[in-house]
Symmetry: C2
Subunit: 502 residues, 2 copies
């Protein structure tokens, strides 16, 4: 048994044991750890088989101090025990993200977390060079969340083989597949053979490396566990195979603090799966994820019932005929959970209606949704000579929105600590009351182009800044008395930040 | 008795009689005509008192040929009779507008009518100079419908006295009224005295002159009969006074072919009036309007029940938190009547959220709503040194949308005659099947910025044009076979017009 004598708070304690490699260790063996420390007692954590006779149990400690544990396994004649010290969280480590103030998020250490996400469905399964490009782009700090899939993706612009597969087997031969027939491309024959009881540990290890790379960049890994874009049969497994997969995913990834569970992308397109199936997967995750990471499920046409107690927040794809912006409030009122509109069309110029909005419109939707008390997700789909589209592959960003979204993120992160209160208004207002009877009032004007605005507040001094959300400028207008008029340029996409001074 | 021996089809036959001027002729006398001609028999039309002992009965003949009539009146000892010839409609005279194809409009002669409207609430009650400016702007052909009020308007930017009042009396003294107190400005005192039983015929005669001026320009007069922006008490009359007013309006204006009845602007802000009141007014109009002009009623917060049979089409103000564009389809499905979104915010730069969208956004909303099978209304509210804002006063237009709306109107009017069919699609499509198995397909891309689009039609030749709805250009792409790809500039606000050739 090997493990570290010291682990950072919200870091990963990994306990490694040797065990049998013969037979099918994935189905014939089991391993479990039980952990105890200050504030945590009897925390049971299932381990997993990592290939080559190696078994692992991973645990994320929630508190500082002395922890002890014991390991039981099908192949161990007796329980093994150990202990380790949990040191304070290092710089940039705020713990896992939780729901806060009903509609919002905060890290476990209390720092507010304002999601400004992106989607690169299978960036981690591209060539090494493209993966490096992706991480280099992400290092620029545009986003603090990224959605991506555990399974490879088969879809338009996504025909090449992934860098690895999650199972032992051989993929379908794609000779003759093209843009016209890929939708109905059969996986029943053409060399498509997989053992859904034998995982390929290298595939999952690589995802873990990616999760850690993202963690270093301060980015949450919103893992899409199932999706329908498939030519190999991963979306058509039997219930016992599905359950084996969900357990394996949870047992491997739960200890990484920056993981979120996105149960599916477009759950309603996974025609084999019933709501009962999704509820069974939820049971597996709720019972086995010792960190209780955030959980949601993403739709195509039909929203999942987000009132289910296992769902921590709504992860919504916009409905085709309804603007996501305007629905944000209604969904908030309906579900009383954070609203993350993780797909609101992508910035780009492909011929699909979901993949061709401008950077300006992307930025507008982000601001509108955020100011209405929801959160939004970015994606990018520009035609590319090698079909490398950020939305699926990562690579380089080509659009105009990322730096504007980083600007938005900065504005949000500048909001002072304290009780958070978003208040929907005719002109969307995000008002946050702070200690000492001071507050910050952030008002996004969006498509409104007033040449002036009038304000009337209670007695006091007010510092006014005019923000151009598109040109990314902040103009200091000065300090005003309780009643005042602010001149504005009469352009779209302006915001006003008013700080009541102490 | 005086009248013309000859009237144009859908023109006005006006029969003028002398009668008593003493007492109160508005309430104490009545006059009625009964008309007969080819296809019309026993059409009863109430007349009205026009002051100075003059009584009038106005009739709009629907057919060509010989008409006869008789006049009865409270002051006539015996019925008077007459006859006249109805000649063919003159150039530009297509008759009144009717509902066509469930969701659309056509003139009575069968010519399609595609509303591209504007709103100038009380343009006809401004100075003569401003009225002339308004008519000069309207003569440029931007719009084919205008909404305006019979009563004067009291509201922000609308403090000065109108050029005339609908009743005999004296207006409230506005000394001391300002932007802050005008909302609760009392009309109970300060010289506000009106006789709600004695109309000022000059006020109504002037409106008739304006209706005729608009008619010459091919513009429909969408008359707003009641509204809540009032400091004189015209929105707080008693039921018998209301009924007298509705009868007077209908009896005076019905014979003008280009009149539409907009029962109210923001009906739900007329707090005195109940739904039963509106239904009673509807009964008056339905029973007395011998032309059966189009009828609707405009909302603030709450839509009127547009399923009422007297309502010919929906005249909707956008709901604050819901985009009018996306609701067009839902309202169509719900009411199965034409949807006219007559207020969707105004192009301008005032500080009210409803009065500060860009010309680009105005144009986009028009196209989107139109391509989804509805119709839209323009308005303009730019800050002006003399507070002359198009939305209320007319005057000069300052915005960027009017010439784009004229361009849209032209595109619509170029659609060939024949069965009309709008088909909602992901990318909005307006497809119109024509005789000879040809058709025109008009597709608006709005916020979508594809760099190409792929088409696959049945065997045939297709003429493709790419329309830039903002820059008002039409690029001829040539003629293509049944499967083809069209390159696009990847900009917003493009449209594609495809004509299947015969």
């Amino acid at each position: 048994m090997e493990y570290s004598r010291q682990t950072e708070r919200w870091g990963v304690q990994e306990i490694v044991l040797q065990g049998p490699a013969e037979g099918n260790p994935f189905t014939e063996q089991w391993i479990r750890g039980t952990f105890a420390g200050p504030g945590q007692n009897n925390v049971k954590v299932n381990g997993f088989y990592d290939g080559d006779g190696i078994y692992k149990v991973r645990f994320m400690p929630s508190y500082e101090g002395e922890y002890s544990f014991r390991i039981e396994a099908s192949f161990l004649p007796e329980t093994q025990e150990g202990s380790f010290t949990v040191t304070p969280a290092g710089e940039g480590n705020h713990g896992p993200v939780r729901v806060a103030y009903t509609y919002h998020f905060a890290y476990e250490d209390g720092t507010m977390y304002y999601p400004v996400g992106t989607t690169c469905y299978v960036w981690e399964l591209q060539s090494e060079a493209v993966q490096k490009e992706t991480l280099a782009e992400l290092a620029k700090g545009y986003f603090n969340k990224i959605r991506f899939c555990v399974f490879p993706k088969h879809y338009i612009y996504n025909f090449h083989e992934p860098s690895s597969y999650p199972y032992e087997g051989t993929p379908v031969d794609t000779t003759g597949m093209n843009k016209k027939n890929f939708h109905s491309y059969s996986m029943e024959d053409k060399g498509n053979h997989w053992d859904f009881y034998r995982f390929n540990p290298a595939h999952f290890r690589h995802i873990e490396e990616c999760i850690l790379e993202l963690q270093k960049l301060g980015i949450e890994a919103d893992l899409i566990v199932m999706h329908p874009y498939d030519r190999w049969g991963f979306s058509h497994m039997q219930p016992d195979q599905d359950d084996l997969y969900w357990n394996y995913v949870v047992n491997r990834f739960s200890a990484y603090r920056n993981v979120w569970w996105s149960f599916a992308n477009e759950w309603d397109l996974l025609r084999d799966k019933t709501v009962a199936d999704w509820e069974r997967y939820a049971e597996i995750v709720v019972q086995n994820d010792h960190v209780q990471h955030l959980r949601s499920i993403h739709n195509c046409h039909t929203l999942y019932d987000y009132s289910k107690p296992w769902i921590t927040h709504c992860c919504i794809q916009r409905q085709p005929d309804v603007m996501p912006v305007e629905m944000t409030n209604q969904w908030r009122d309906k579900y009383r959970k954070p609203i993350v509109i993780d797909e609101l069309c992508y910035e780009g110029n492909i011929n699909n209606a979901w993949g061709c909005i401008s950077g300006q419109e992307m930025t507008r939707r982000f601001w509108e949704i955020t100011m209405r008390g929801g959160y939004a997700g970015h994606g990018e789909t520009f035609v590319h000579p090698q079909d490398i589209l950020w939305w699926s592959h990562g690579g380089k960003l080509h659009g105009e929105s990322p730096e504007r979204l980083r600007f938005l993120k900065k504005i949000l992160e500048e909001l002072p600590e304290g009780g958070l209160q978003f208040a929907g208004r005719r002109l969307a207002v995000n008002q946050r009351r702070m200690p000492g009877n001071t507050w910050v009032h952030l008002q996004y004007l969006g498509k409104s182009t007033p040449s002036f605005l009038e304000y009337s507040f209670e007695e006091g001094q007010y510092h006014v800044e005019v923000i151009d959300t598109w040109n990314m400028t902040i103009e200091d207008k000065g300090v005003f008395g309780p009643e005042f008029t602010i001149n504005l340029p009469g352009r779209e996409y302006m915001a006003v930040r008013i700080t009541k001074m102490g």
